[in-house]
Symmetry: C2
Subunit: 351 residues, 2 copies
């Protein structure tokens, strides 16, 4: 017989306490979009708000959002029955873990941290197989993955930003494991596996409005999969998981694709410029297809750079393998590059 | 070794598929507020939206909402550390069940259906002890409740709307069980146990913006409890569970309390009028302190009434014990009353 206090103590002991950082002027640590959600589109949302809908338990997702999403994913083999939404992509990850909590979770670090964090919350078994030079180590996992496995794989990968190859994804799918491809950064690299869903019943694709559409604060993610899995997801999630006005934000974003496409191109251009400059400075960078760059660094260089960024009050994200820096505005990116150039200059003058 | 399809089949087999009903013109089935969220206040929310906050991972809850909530609950013994928020009160219920999933859940039907539904989703053991003439059957549960129990109790009760007595709440708390008082309808009856939280570490109070503040579509609930429990709740929930604009809606509601208080008084007046009229017609009603009325009915009368409401396209909620009808606008309430009067007239003419 256990008092509730024991469970509270257990939770405090085991679960990570997420706390948002105090924001420095230049915050490039969370792969947020550097551009505001435009005032004109906020006005468009405002005009759509029906005061009589706000007091009601409003459909999540509503029909119009589903239809716009279907149009956006642009796959002639899928229907709205292959789609559902979540309170951010994170909630979708959480519920998928909950749905398949008896299955063993396989991840390939460096990878998105929440797969492991949430799996621990839920009590699932997690197997971590590190990538080998950005490749899934197929030889090591041949006997490990099977129909009892659930695999999470961000594509492009987070934090490195590189794409996995079709052959690697195919290998994972052919083990019979349930493969969750997290396409949170899809719009910055434009390669998707949604078209494979019709063929592979064990494939789930997750996407989000947080990155390309500047909507992280509004918490809207979606998932695409076979009808049965979507039906089960809709049973396990809370019925009203995404609120009315957030759905309006998503709808307005999807009705203004041209506007966002231009912005996305700007971010892609800045990323490619940044990658080129970092390479020419001699950094080992990954071929990022996200709205961020990643450089592999030994511990010493990592520490030197981290200190410099802290001095200049620029928040970036440190990993054991290196540093990840979000692509910001051109001005912010220039500040970032200047730090790298100065550090290299100092290094060279010492040698 | 089990294929993911087995878990999907299990979920489809076990879990309820929530589907929103097609809405009839007069929808009095979900205890929604009949009044819109006012256009003036939507404009106030609109003006508060900072386009540069929308692309960011925004604090849930933010400091201003916490402070406004603290002021609203008006308890000098509590601080913001005793407060957190959820994506609707439902999400709070879900996470509390998840936090204490090893404990046995006790409910007293007729009660809010989601306690049992969510507990089943999570796999917790549920014990149902029916109320006896609206009282908690203390003799029956003396040896049942202990520190290993978690008790859910809506106050005012849903669907009946009656208040439990201090002695009943005290009895529950003194068993050592974790007692969750769901004050979703607090504003319509104005009796709260928040002031007991300082004394009872095993007491949690849940509230919502869905009912009194006309904000069901925006999904904002909050909970009040001892600091340790709130800290554990904040670890188990997703870090950004309530989005930015929904928090602005809650803030604007709390800054316009006088406006909402007038509306709440109107709903209370309509409820009291409805109760009086139903009683004078000879119906056995509960002393509802929510934004709804409940009448106890035998199966035959219930069926006759249900058919009449269906004919008039008014959606109400049927329970095994009777019918629950949300208080609507004065015009809607008159339509409701007219149906009861006609049914009684027909009954009397037959006798």
């Amino acid at each position: 017989m256990d008092d509730f206090r024991k469970y509270i103590a257990d939770i405090k002991d085991k679960l990570f306490k997420y706390q948002t950082e105090k924001r420095s002027k230049t915050y490039l640590a969370l792969n947020e979009n550097p551009y505001p959600f435009p005032e004109k589109l906020i006005e468009e949302v405002y005009k759509l708000i029906d005061p009589y809908k706000i007091p009601t338990y409003y459909d999540s997702p509503d029909e119009e959002l589903l239809n716009l999403l279907l149009e956006y994913i642009n796959s002639d083999k899928l229907s709205v029955k292959n789609l559902s939404i979540g309170n951010g992509a994170d909630e979708i990850i959480y519920y998928l873990l909950l749905m398949f909590k008896e299955m063993k979770v396989t991840i390939f670090p460096p990878t998105y941290s929440c797969y492991k964090l949430f799996a621990k919350d839920i009590g699932s078994k997690v197997i971590s197989i590190p990538l080998k030079e950005e490749k899934i180590p197929i030889n090591e996992i041949e006997n490990l993955l099977n129909v009892d496995s659930i695999v999470f794989i961000p594509n492009p990968n987070n934090p490195t930003g590189h794409f996995f190859e079709d052959e690697e994804i195919e290998f994972l799918l052919n083990t019979g494991a349930l493969v969750i491809i997290d396409e949170a950064y899809y719009e910055f690299g434009k390669r998707s596996y949604i078209d494979w869903i019709d063929e592979y019943k064990n494939l789930v694709v997750i996407r989000t409005f947080s990155k390309a559409f500047s909507l992280a604060a509004q918490r809207i993610g979606y998932l695409v999969a076979n009808e049965d899995l979507i039906d089960a997801y809709n049973r396990i999630r809370l019925p009203f998981n995404v609120d009315y006005v957030s759905q309006l934000f998503a709808r307005v974003a999807l009705k203004n694709l041209e506007f966002f496409r231009k912005r996305i191109e700007e971010i892609i251009n800045e990323r490619e410029k940044m990658k080129k400059e970092l390479m020419s400075l001699g950094y080992k960078i990954s071929n990022s297809q996200g709205n961020f760059v990643f450089m592999y660094l030994d511990t010493d260089s990592k520490e030197v750079l981290t200190r410099e960024f802290e001095k200049k009050k620029i928040a970036i994200r440190k990993f054991s393998e290196g540093l990840r820096i979000t692509i910001g505005t051109p001005k912010q990116n220039e500040m970032v590059l200047r730090i790298f150039m100065e550090v290299k200059k100092n290094e060279n003058s010492k040698n």
